[in-house]
Structure formats: C-alpha cells, structure tokens
C-alpha cells in the first residue's frame, strides 16, 4: 500500500530521529469521516492566488516559470475542484519566513506563497519564479535542491498529502537526504519535467508535474 512512501525513521535526515514514532501504526479500515473531506468553493481562492509573481507591487527577481499538471487518484480518475497550496523560496534561496536566517536577500515583490483549485479535469497551473537552493544544517555542507512545497487536500481525508516538487537535472538531487528517503524507483515521481509545449514564447519556461493521490474506496467513479 505505501511502497512509494518514505519511512518515518530516516537517520540521514536528523530531524526524524526524535520525531518518528517507534510503534507500528494500527491498521484500520477508514470510517466515514476519513472517506470524506473538506470541499473548498471558488471563494477559497482569489483570482491572482495562482500567480506568485503578482500582487506585491512589482516584478520579482528571477526566472519566471509555469508549473502545471494534473491531479488524479491511483486509478487514474481526475481529482477536480480540490485545493492546492504551494510555498517556496525566492530566486536567491530564501523563504519569506521570520525564522529563515539564510544570508540571502529577501525580495519585496515575492513571498513565495500560492493557492489554486484544480479544474473539473484535475488540472492545476501556477506562475512563479524558479526557487533557489539553500543551505541547511543537517550535516556538513548540506544544501537542499530547489523545490516547491505542495499541500494537497484531494477529495477525502485519506488523500490529504504534503510533498515537494523538484526540478530536472539539479545536481543536488543526488545529495539530498529528504529526497533520498523515498525508495529509489519512486524518486523520479517528485521531479517535474521540462515542458516545451507549454512554454510561453518570450515569457516563461514551463514544467509539468502530475500528482497521483491514493484512491478513496467507495467513491463513485467520475
């Protein structure tokens, strides 16, 4: 069932050591509350929330990109009208967060926060700035590859997931204990693909990243 999932205890990522439960989880059948989930209306998302390059009074610095894809369940059914939240660093590798102490510049025109709803076919699309790599203190000379955090609600509690999207060809992918925690064959599922077809001439490169959430039993097929 969870073969693609990272383990909870992963000593190469030091923060897991005091936070990973030691007891095996109880295997249970989901009950009604877990087979349903919050439904977000159009009002949950503002018209510019999918465009991280707008709304802060000027153009952010960096390489403008489009990130798009389709959200489906494990049976290939689209997951429509579901909330996606994203957050990321700016192009210099710094989060717009009080506690990020990386000595890289903040960008007054970029806070790296976005939201959208998937459309009726499960598609999503963000406009943003390519995030930067940044150092962290997990081990000597540790650097996170550039990534975008994704929070997905799906259509039920069972499908709720938070993950990270990475960029193709990044040399840091081979040196990241967080990505490395994912079993080898599944790591590529977290790496977007460059998408020339959706790249907009004279404006922005596009990357495609499709997301597959677990299926919810008993849900009516779309």
């Amino acid at each position: 069932m969870m073969t693609n999932e990272p383990p909870l205890y992963w000593p190469d990522y030091k923060s897991t050591m005091l936070r990973a439960p030691q007891l095996p989880p109880k295997q249970v059948d989901p009950e009604l509350a877990e087979l349903t989930g919050p439904v977000f209306g159009e009002s949950a998302v503002g018209p510019l929330d999918h465009d991280l390059t707008r709304g802060l009074g000027g153009e952010p610095i960096g390489e403008r990109i489009i990130v798009h894809g389709k959200v489906t369940d494990a049976d290939g059914r689209p997951i429509p009208h579901s909330l996606i939240e994203v957050w990321q660093t700016n192009s210099a590798g710094r989060y717009s967060h009080d506690r990020d102490q990386h000595p890289a510049p903040l960008d007054p025109h970029f806070n790296g926060v976005g939201r959208c709803l998937t459309d009726a076919e499960g598609n999503y699309r963000f406009v943003t700035i390519r995030p930067g790599a940044y150092p962290w203190r997990n081990h000597h000379n540790a650097w996170r590859p550039a990534h975008i955090h994704f929070s997905l609600f799906g259509r039920s509690f069972l499908q709720r997931m938070i993950t990270q999207m990475y960029f193709p060809g990044d040399p840091l992918l081979a040196h990241d204990p967080i990505l490395d925690s994912v079993p080898e064959p599944a790591r590529d599922l977290l790496v977007a693909q460059f998408d020339l077809g959706q790249t907009v001439p004279e404006w922005a490169l596009a990357f495609r990243w499709d997301i597959v959430l677990r299926s919810t039993p008993m849900e009516d097929p779309q």
Partner: protein, 120 residues
C-alpha cells in the same frame, strides 16, 4: 502514487490557520487542543495539526510550547475526530483519532506515551 515529503520548518507564513471549525456561539462548542511533543519530551514548535469531522475542518500551527487548538463541537454520528499531523522531521503525515469526548489531547510522536497512530 506520488510520495510524501516533509512540510519542513518554514510553512507558517504560507498555510493559513483555520481555528474555527464552528463559529463562536455554536451550542456545545469548545476549544479542543493539546501539545505536540517529541521523543525527548520537548515541544514541537513547527507542527501543523488538521482536524476533520462532518461539522468542518480545522487547522492549527503549534506555538513555541508545542500547543495547538481548534474551536469545535463533539462530532455527531462518529466516535472520533480525524487528525493529520505534519511537522519538520515527519517525512509523511501521521494520522490519529481524537475520541469524541476529549478536550485535551497531547500528540506524543515518540516514546513511552506515544500516541496511537493509524494507517488505512
């Protein structure tokens, strides 16, 4: 299926809390909450707790003492409130169930008083 990854430490500016599952003044409403603690008994100040029940959903980010809380009612027609736990150091979500009459519910990630976590 797409694998999970940690929420990381820097999400509180991005993931907006939703402390009120039900509005103030709702009959029977109360504050449900507790602390999130690690295997050393220390508070986890960078966790996000989400609750789900038919009456609505809640989201609370832990404070410096590891405290979380949402304003809710006892779930009708269910024995528990479904809970997701995200934190720096959790490579994937943990799921637990808060019994319907609980008011204070600590989430102990590891150790002697470890919370019962569920997989489906």
């Amino acid at each position: 299926m797409t694998p999970s990854q940690t929420i990381g430490p820097f999400f509180s500016h991005a993931l907006v809390p939703n402390l009120h599952v039900v509005p103030e003044g709702t009959p029977g409403a109360f504050w449900l909450g507790g602390r999130v603690l690690d295997g050393a008994g220390d508070p986890v100040p960078d966790a996000m707790i989400e609750t789900w029940q038919r009456e609505g959903w809640g989201r609370s980010l832990t404070d410096a003492d590891g405290r979380w809380g949402v304003h809710t009612v006892a779930p009708e027609g269910a024995e528990f409130i479904a809970v997701s736990v995200f934190a720096r150091g959790l490579l994937r979500r943990l799921c637990t169930r808060i019994p319907m009459h609980a008011v204070e519910f600590d989430i102990v990630l590891q150790g002697d008083n470890e919370t019962a976590f569920y997989e489906f």
